[in-house]
């Protein structure tokens, strides 16, 4: 049986490099030398999902999205 996993998607146009996401979800998000998030590609395990959601909600420009990953976990 395959669990539906999640992944992060960034809207690079909306992103203004506030950096809250990297603060709240360092497991998957780091910042580049200009302060823009670099997102690791791996799917987010259920145990990390609440961190991902918190990071997305904290984004002042709503640039970070948590989406269901269609590929099986």
């Amino acid at each position: 049986m395959s669990h539906s996993s999640h992944k992060l998607r960034l809207n690079p146009i909306a992103c203004e490099a506030h950096g809250m996401c990297a603060e709240l979800f360092p497991e998957r998000i780091s910042l580049d030398e200009w302060g823009y998030p670099v997102i690791a590609g791996e799917p987010i395990s259920p145990s990390l999902l609440s961190h991902a959601r918190r990071a997305a909600q904290a984004c002042p420009t709503f640039a970070l999205l948590v989406e269901k990953d269609k590929a099986p976990a």
Binding site: P12, C15, W34, G35, V38
Partner: protein
């Protein structure tokens, strides 16, 4: 049924079709100055076949014919046209956009179609509209292509009584990223001609939120010929994986630079011959334009112009750009000026593109000037990795591809400049074509952190 509509039979080349093995196809009887009139166009290519579509449930026969022909998009991405048509045909009240907003400075083919053969691409737009059930066709032309704007506008007027669809012209602000699909949709919806965050893709939700088919002008011109002469005829030229002919803009040290129609798989040598031969030895060729890749001059003799063959050199035809750089030019100075122009063409919407392309251009400029410190190629690689796949559109990726390809192809020249500074050829007027540059960022330098 209006005058220039005739029902077309199936895929076999119809009686009276031109010889499938012969060129030109698109450029048949192309006038040198004035646009081809509707009457002349119909005399050359015959009447516009009418695509019957029996209700929304049945797919138009043209889509299958385009699929059998193996037509791929000619705007650079090479996406299968039938797949695009099908995606939109499933939607409600779709809109068709003819994309002649050519932002690539080294490409003139869509401008040529707009200026001289407007009816061929309008035919394609009309046929595609019939095939997907659209009633509206919007033709996007760069506002700087004044002759193209006039010619398309006159051609729409000329066929207004005959057309099965509503056609209108939209002039698009000139810019490298303005012809990108989401940028056109943005522009047509009243916004700036800048890319947007996708999905939704234009075929899902485009102009006025309706499913929108956006096809390159040449793609639709080819479609207009496939509709008339069939898929078998189309495949009589080209390679099995890349059938048909293509418009190619050849520039650089050749006697007659310009737009040529070639068969996919034709040798570069035959194209250069058609252009009257070279006027100086070629140091390298840029394939696919400023999002493309360089091929060293030593390899040009055996080069064949098909994506299958070019892929072995890490290149592709893209939107049909073949640009020769002469031995006399300095490839480092040329790369520096193109890299700066490309950085300035950033829509300045996405951080990695805005900052990364500027830093990359600055690095190439420092190499060209001999002022670069540390390991410059490491820095370029690191910046490239930081930029790639992090923009909303393909612009940062294309620019990275060009710069990395230049660094590799001209490795000796880059190393020499990094060590010894400008060469004698650096002072020559640049060979690579660029539109009059905006000075907005020309002097701007940001420190590059390490």
């Amino acid at each position: 049924m209006s005058r220039h509509h005739a029902t077309v039979a199936e895929a076999a080349p119809r009686a009276g079709a031109p010889d499938g093995r012969s060129l030109p196809r698109l450029l048949a009887e192309v006038p040198s100055r004035e646009p081809m009139s509707l009457d002349h166009h119909l005399a050359v290519h015959g009447e516009l076949p009418h695509e019957h579509r029996h209700g929304r449930r049945h797919e138009s026969a043209l889509i299958e014919r385009v699929e059998r022909a193996g037509l791929r998009g000619r705007g650079g991405a090479g996406f299968p046209t039938a797949v695009k048509l099908r995606a939109v045909a499933h939607g409600r009240r779709p809109i068709v956009v003819i994309n002649a907003a050519e932002g690539e400075p080294a490409s003139l083919k869509d401008r040529t179609l707009s200026e001289l053969l407007p009816h061929l691409m309008l035919d394609g737009g009309e046929l595609a509209a019939q095939a997907v059930g659209a009633e509206e066709v919007i033709v996007c032309v760069c506002e700087s292509a004044i002759a193209g704007v006039e010619s398309v506008s006159a051609a729409i007027e000329e066929r207004s009584g005959e057309s099965s669809v509503r056609m209108q012209l939209s002039t698009v602000p000139t810019g490298y990223v303005a012809g990108q699909e989401s940028a056109l949709v943005n522009h047509l919806n009243g916004g700036p001609a800048l890319p947007t965050f996708t999905p939704p893709m234009p075929f899902e939700q485009g102009v006025r939120r309706r499913p929108t088919l956006i096809n390159n002008a040449e793609t639709l011109a080819q479609l207009a010929l496939i509709a008339r002469y069939g898929s078998t005829w189309f495949r009589e030229l080209g390679t099995p994986s890349q059938p048909g002919s293509a418009l190619v803009t050849l520039s650089g040290p050749v006697a007659y630079p310009g737009v040529y129609e070639i068969e996919h798989g034709a040798s570069l040598a035959s194209l250069i011959d058609a252009a009257g031969g070279t006027t100086a030895a070629a140091r390298a060729a840029l394939l696919g334009g400023y999002a493309g890749a360089w091929i060293d001059g030593s390899l040009l003799g055996g080069l064949s112009l098909s994506d299958e063959h070019l892929a072995t050199h890490g290149a592709s035809l893209g939107a049909g750009v073949v640009l020769l750089l002469s031995q006399d030019a300095c490839p480092v100075a040329e790369t520096a000026s193109v890299a700066r122009w490309l950085a300035d063409q950033s829509a300045r919407q996405c951080g990695p593109c805005l900052n990364g392309l500027d830093a990359l251009a600055a690095t190439v400029e420092e190499i060209a000037g001999g002022t670069v410190e540390g390991n410059a190629s490491k820095r370029i690689e690191r910046l490239a990795a930081l930029v790639r796949r992090r923009g909303a559109c393909g612009h940062p990726d294309g620019t990275v591809r060009l710069i990395l390809s230049a660094v590799e192809t001209f490795a000796a020249e880059f190393a020499d400049h990094a060590r010894h500074g400008p060469c004698e050829a650096c002072d020559r007027a640049p060979e690579l074509p660029l539109p009059a540059r905006s000075t907005r960022n020309a002097r701007r330098r940001e420190p590059v952190a390490f």
